[in-house]
Amino acid sequence: MNSDKMLDAKGLACPLPVVRTKKSIDELKSGQVLEVHATDKGAKNDLSAWATRTGHELLNTAEENGVYKFWIKKA
């Protein structure tokens, strides 16, 4: 899946994956896609809840070898 920016949040514990995601999204333009990689299991539900809350669109998620991947389109 294509993305405009990639955030590596692997190895970070809550709240950092969401904090960094928010910061990265702030730097994007509306409609651009951010790809996030995280290893904290808690980030999985929190990122999707955060996206819903803030109106950004969670386009897709994947899990590979313990890495959670998210594609978020900025509102």
Partner: protein, 381 residues
Amino acid sequence: MSTMGIQKMTSKEVTKMILNNEELVILDVRNEADFNDWKIEGNNVESINIPYFDLLDDISPALDKIPDGKNVLVVCAKEGSSIFVAEQIAEAGRSNISYLEGGMKSWSEYLEPVKVSDLSGGGELYQFVRIGKGCLSYIVLSNGEAAIIDTSRMIEQYEQFMQEKGVKLIHAIDTHLHADHISGGRAVAQKYGAAYHLPPKDATEVTFEYEKLEEGNDIYVGNETIKVKPIYTPGHTIGSTSFMIDNKYLLTGDILFIDSVGRPDLAGLAEDWVGDLRDTLYSRYKELSEELVVLPAHFGKVTELGVGGLVAGRLGTLYNENPGLNIHDEREFRKTVTENLPPQPNSYQEIRQTNMGKMNPSEHEQREMEIGPNRCAVHDK
């Protein structure tokens, strides 16, 4: 420890506050779904849920909701987000702000030892209350020996207790093959060269050696001073076994709780076992003395915690007051215990496989599998 004007609180300290009915405001900063699934409860606990990701830029929604001047405990899944939020609240000028060390993970694992009673011949009986998950386990002590019943995964907490008491483990016993938590029985028995007992009907698929729990084969602790008498009481699982200890206490496992009864569906055979469950509850236990003190393997609500945290009830009183023992129509009983059941416990299939020795998850994975409430009773909504 104090980080930027905030205090660290341990699960043990929170447990003490709850058992003493102290007032506590909890700001739970996990996401809404996790909060609704499972949270810290207490008679004087007020819970507020605001996910930490709603407080990243602005802490004021939290300040608006938490009452000034009260003890506030900020809680999250592990602890990172709770420290992050607690610090901002403290920076905004609030005092009495703490965070829960280790978060809900540590809350799920803490065991509070509560003395049930002295036993004949100098023995003692303790109940270990896993307050965060609603699981209860037991230690029988006598003459330098110990038996643990329904051991939880966190065996080091029993080990520390046994060391303090100067006793040696000789039996680890499970009332049934558990589906809501990973048993520490096999691990602790191996470590001390003790016997691990399981009901054979629950153990047909296990991959290890064990001692068979059977009626008539009594188990003794402390040079035969304390008798642990197995009574076959199927229904939650086909092997479920109860124990009479010192002729006074009845350990009912997941068959009979204080305010509810066990569910027959976690091993996949609700329809087959509902008859066994009814027979156990309405006939087998009925033949026993009403004066027996029932000590279950679970509690569902904090209101079931009695003095000092003890979960116990007189059998005769339970026959009058427990809704699960007062469904006289057999069809209605069948309906109650098989339809509209609460959701099944988290990862219950994997937990059963692990308890059979068929899966060997890492400690980290075991923790994750156990997160959440136990939901072994039919009335746990």
